[in-house]
């Protein structure tokens, strides 16, 4: 028995388009690894610097951009200061957009409440450099302004990653979470939280179990959970219902496929 795969695509398209048009909403349960990131940010005192490394490109925007935006909103709501950077070149525009949106919402000022360091090539080397001498690695921000003259640096006395209590890495590959664990967290002692694409999520549960990650957001579900936690439903929350319906279609096809397999096998047995 064979079904043209294009029928499956049609069903998937229907399962996604209808809930998107009719804005079907579903309850989002919070998982422990996501709650832990929220709790860690909540535990920080106002004015503390949080580093957000965005190591992804527009291909992963659907899953990771909502995480970046939700984390930035949470940090600004808590009056934390944000130091954002990219280890991937193509993601710079998305990070700037997220900083602009969240910064405007909470009336935060560039250079005072947040700094965008931009992209620096080198992955692990950049992290080691930031751990030893932040201003040496990033003498200027993404707009070419000297970092040493910025109020965020002057007022906090930030010199390296050793002065940062929490780094959040939102990544779609390498350099990414592995690099931050290997070259950053285990060398300089800060807490590391991570967000990653769904494909990568299972790879990072061992780090969660060993305490090398304080929390983990996996894929769109992780982003939607974080939006729920900060009570700011946005793109990820809206996209969860078409996500659930498309999963139901896939589950139905998996069941159908297995039934067909069993029926075919029993037919063959009977014939022989």
């Amino acid at each position: 028995m064979k079904i043209d795969r294009r029928y499956i695509f049609v069903f998937i398209a229907i399962a996604i388009i209808l809930p998107t048009i009719f804005e079907v909403r579903m309850k989002i349960d919070i998982s422990e690894p996501v709650k832990k990131i929220f709790d860690r940010i909540e535990s920080l005192k106002p004015g503390t610097v949080v580093v957000i490394s965005n190591d992804y490109d527009p291909a992963a925007k659907a899953e990771l951009y909502p995480m970046t935006l939700a984390i930035m909103r949470h940090c600004f709501r808590k009056n934390l200061r944000v130091l954002a950077l990219n280890l991937w070149p193509q993601g710079a525009g998305l990070v700037r957009m997220a900083l602009d949106i969240s910064g405007k919402e909470y009336k935060k000022e560039n250079g005072v409440d947040y700094v965008f360091l931009g992209y620096k090539p080198g992955g692990g080397v950049v992290i080691i450099g930031m751990g030893q001498n932040l201003l040496g690695t990033f003498p200027k921000d993404a707009d070419g302004k000297p970092l040493a003259e910025m109020p965020l640096i002057k007022e906090t006395g930030l010199k390296s990653l050793k002065d940062v209590p929490l780094v959040i890495d939102i990544a779609a590959g390498t350099p990414g979470i592995d690099s931050w664990v290997i070259y950053g967290r285990d060398q300089y002692g800060f807490d590391l939280a991570a967000g990653c694409t769904g494909v990568m999520a299972t790879d990072y549960y061992p780090y969660l179990n060993s305490g090398q990650l304080v929390g983990l957001m996996g894929g769109l579900k992780g982003a939607a959970e974080y939006e729920t936690l900060i009570e700011r439903a946005d793109e990820a929350t809206r996209n969860m219902s078409p996500q659930s319906f498309s999963h139901l279609v896939i589950i139905a096809f998996v069941i159908l496929g297995n039934i067909a397999l069993i029926v075919e096998k029993s037919k063959k047995k009977r014939r022989s």
Partner: protein, 253 residues
Amino acid sequence: MAEVAEKKSSSGFLVLIVLLGLFALVNIYLFASGKLPSNFEGIGIMIAAGMSLAIYSFLYRDNPIYKLAEHIYIGMSVGYIVVYDYYNALKPNLLDKLFFPPPSETYELWLIIPLFLGALMFFRFSPKYAWVSRWSFAFIVGYGSGMAIPRGVKTSILMQIEATLRPINFTDASGAFNFDAISTLIAIVGILAVLIYFFFSLEHKGPLKVVSRVGVWFLMIAFGAQFGYTVMARMSLLIERVRFLLGKWLNIL
């Protein structure tokens, strides 16, 4: 046979023309009705919608429009990376410091070494002298291994072993049963069973066969979880595009 193929390709060409015409008509309507702004943003949305549809046309069958969109995407990505890397890495970190330092700073002549090693990489384009680029690769492999191996062993092996060997607490601080202990026990059984499955020095017979079988089950569950997450990831990408097409392009949402 050749006749059937020719018929198929001409009907495919016709479908292509009809779809392109439909796309053009929809955009004319969207611009005329003001649903798409008549500026660069509107044109950008139209191009993005066209590219998305062109890529998704592969779901029906491989076609020239898909190929065109694919090549444009690759070309744009490479072009963006080259320009971005030049202005954010090569120029400020190498060229400006080496050749055009600000009046208050001196020429950083030591940068000639990385410039020289970097330039050697271009010998990859010459089959005759490609071996010269190995000097640069030797440098990269040497520093890369030195940097990664000790840290990688500590982080990915020793700390993972430590986490596995930690004593299991069956009760929490209040004296109640700690349900996390069950997860830890399952993880330990899984690790041991999978390790035994990959232990090939002894034939998997008797108890070893049973344990390795358990290892296979753990692996299957792990693959299943990974597949589930992969499905979720791919659907997320599709949903984002559908939302873009219905919302920003067609203005239905």
